[in-house]
Point group: C2
Chain length 457, copies 2
Amino acid sequence: MADQTKFLLTEKDIPKFWYNIQADLPEALPPVLHPGTGQPIGPDDLAPLFPMELIMQEVSQEREIEIPEPVRSAYQQWRPTPLYRAHRLEKALDTPAKIYYKYEGVSPSGSHKPNTAIPQAFFNKAEGINKIATETGAGQWGSSLAYAAALFDLEVQVFMVKVSFNQKPYRKAMMETFGASCIASPSDTTNAGRAILEKTPDSTGSLGIAISEAVEVAATNDDTKYALGSVLNHVLMHQTVIGQEAMRQMEMAGDYPDVVVGCSGGGSNFAGIALPFLGEKLRGGKDVRLVAIEPAACPSLTRGKYAYDFGDTAQMTPLVKMHTLGANFVPSGFHAGGLRYHGMAPILSHLYELGLSEAKALNQLECFEAGVLFGRTESIIPAPEATHAVRGAILEALRCKEEGKSETILFNLCGHGHFDMQAYTDFFAGKLNDQTYDESELAMALAGLPSVAHGSV
Amino acid sequence: MADQTKFLLTEKDIPKFWYNIQADLPEALPPVLHPGTGQPIGPDDLAPLFPMELIMQEVSQEREIEIPEPVRSAYQQWRPTPLYRAHRLEKALDTPAKIYYKYEGVSPSGSHKPNTAIPQAFFNKAEGINKIATETGAGQWGSSLAYAAALFDLEVQVFMVKVSFNQKPYRKAMMETFGASCIASPSDTTNAGRAILEKTPDSTGSLGIAISEAVEVAATNDDTKYALGSVLNHVLMHQTVIGQEAMRQMEMAGDYPDVVVGCSGGGSNFAGIALPFLGEKLRGGKDVRLVAIEPAACPSLTRGKYAYDFGDTAQMTPLVKMHTLGANFVPSGFHAGGLRYHGMAPILSHLYELGLSEAKALNQLECFEAGVLFGRTESIIPAPEATHAVRGAILEALRCKEEGKSETILFNLCGHGHFDMQAYTDFFAGKLNDQTYDESELAMALAGLPSVAHGSV
């Protein structure tokens, strides 16, 4: 037998609480502002959109938030997820580094998203809500919420970014199999969607636009709430089950990461694996580097402004301080649909500003090359988003090789690519390029940041 | 927490040998015959197609065949696979039965096929072979062999049945990602393919035709061997890792199956889970019912003849005694491509004749309905093939409900449906029907059975 490859926990080891980094931050997060008044908002301002329990989680300063039993029971269907030692990838790279990856693709929807879809569905249902509207990029979030809704008997309407809707038609089929409905965004079913279509009839959509549509449905229908699959504090917190499990699994492996790598669009999977390790460090534990990998075509951390901005294009959400490319920024149609968001989670933006994490923007082609190498060695074909984490980990491993260091690298393989094979087909056919962004469009989007962004807050 | 859902073994529990049912059969299998002489063939007759080690496994009467270390190491990437208790499905059915399923979809290709692809690649490489030709129906076998070939550095050429090639385009992308090449069959690259295309230019293909093409490539190229993903004794034997693990996992659950259910095309996944339990029974252990589920549109066990027939359409293979619809039978283009084979594995045919197993033919629509129910309750969207096993298990559970019996049902969930979502899309759009076969076409195919089938053997 080869050395141990998979480190597995039992269902009893499913975390009993979510970890809230806010309890350990050296500086508190900047407040969320009301777009009209420029003043910090309170829980009631968010009540039309979210159930109160999630709003309280959003602002909680408690270190541990207990995971309700029905949520842990639902997690049992696929959690704890496996931690792998990447023996074959290490060999292929001829690196002295040790590479581990946590694999979230074993979930019902094939990504980390159900970790937060389940509690969001549960807390909505607990407060008597029966309908949820949401957006989705690559479809991973939409299909996760669809599955969670099937468990807790909720209706779900998903607005899917049009370019991904066309690139990944079978995500819709998955949502329908789980019982949800899914339409392409921008759509003609909302004011926000119609306004975009009027100006840009052939719009390929963006997460910012799709959020506007879903928020509008929730805000204008008393019986409907809204759910977001990333960015928000409570969403990142739900994902910390990943990192908590990984800590125990690294212990089983007799190792501890020198560096934790994840891809980062809105930031939830990276936060999920990284924040528990950072918390350890902030409480005086072992040092660890955190490296967020973003797509070169949508580089909010490395090229965006740290400023107050809207979460959506139609400017319906409150203002949050984050690294942003501007809510009007429409990224090109590259294949990592889950990484096509104009902003970065406020928590991750804050940590980046504090120097507690690093960021790197990578091109599409090198990521797909890494994905193919990973598939051939480690057997799992990564989602286009996840190829960014793979490439990020490989770069760390190659650095170790150059420096002759046997560091331990841990990354989050946030999902499989079974619904993204057109991207691989295009890659092999030489049809993919290193998509980037138009500097003048970025400048314009940044110029459109709300004025409070430049204000005193 | 809910009651335990997943029963997990560690890598050390990966079986150390394959179980060979031939050692425990009450009557020996009928011999394989040379199509020219009608006489039993010897190992040398098969040498152009297979490495000698696999030929010896094919005829071995040893109960246990040791699994080589490199094969067990490769299995570590995904084995042991989980056994699930289907709590939520049981609840939805309101049945007193306990339902367990072994889930083989966690493998690199998403099905049970790598269990035999890995050893086949290994034994070929060990005998100096560098190229393999094979066929594939739904693409599960082709992508499994592609992955195995990546591990052992082999070239693989896959002939994929045309109707599936068109229905499941992303299987080709998966094979290419793993480094193999894949073309639609019938193709114009072989004599067998060209002959079919001349007679039937719009042929949608069949496994029998694709086998002819692959066998021709192997037989006419000294440096190339052939590999088959089901039907043969050694293939079924490699799959017994499924049942061996399941026995230990059922023990962990404190249960033992009253009935074992699997879908059956060529028969390998059903044999994989069922034969170890049958072996126990034949050696004086607990009784167990085995139920093979086949598609109503390709019902080799329930409607075929038990007769000598060719494994392929161009009549290039030796003659094996099996339940067959006739090697010229071309099943309709229903979605369970992996179940579209004209014959049933000789071992399973023999057991069926001996009254040691049962069979049931089910329609496409009821199977997809079962697949959707399974997805919504158990979170995994089954492959169209696997929906047959799901429906078979549900029928047993409903019988238990009617009879007020709390029996234990175990079935093999042989793969996920991530590459088959067009089938679910068609199902939701009302485009699927209960495909069946043309009685006169079946009669014609059966009339074409080779004469030795009616002879003295």
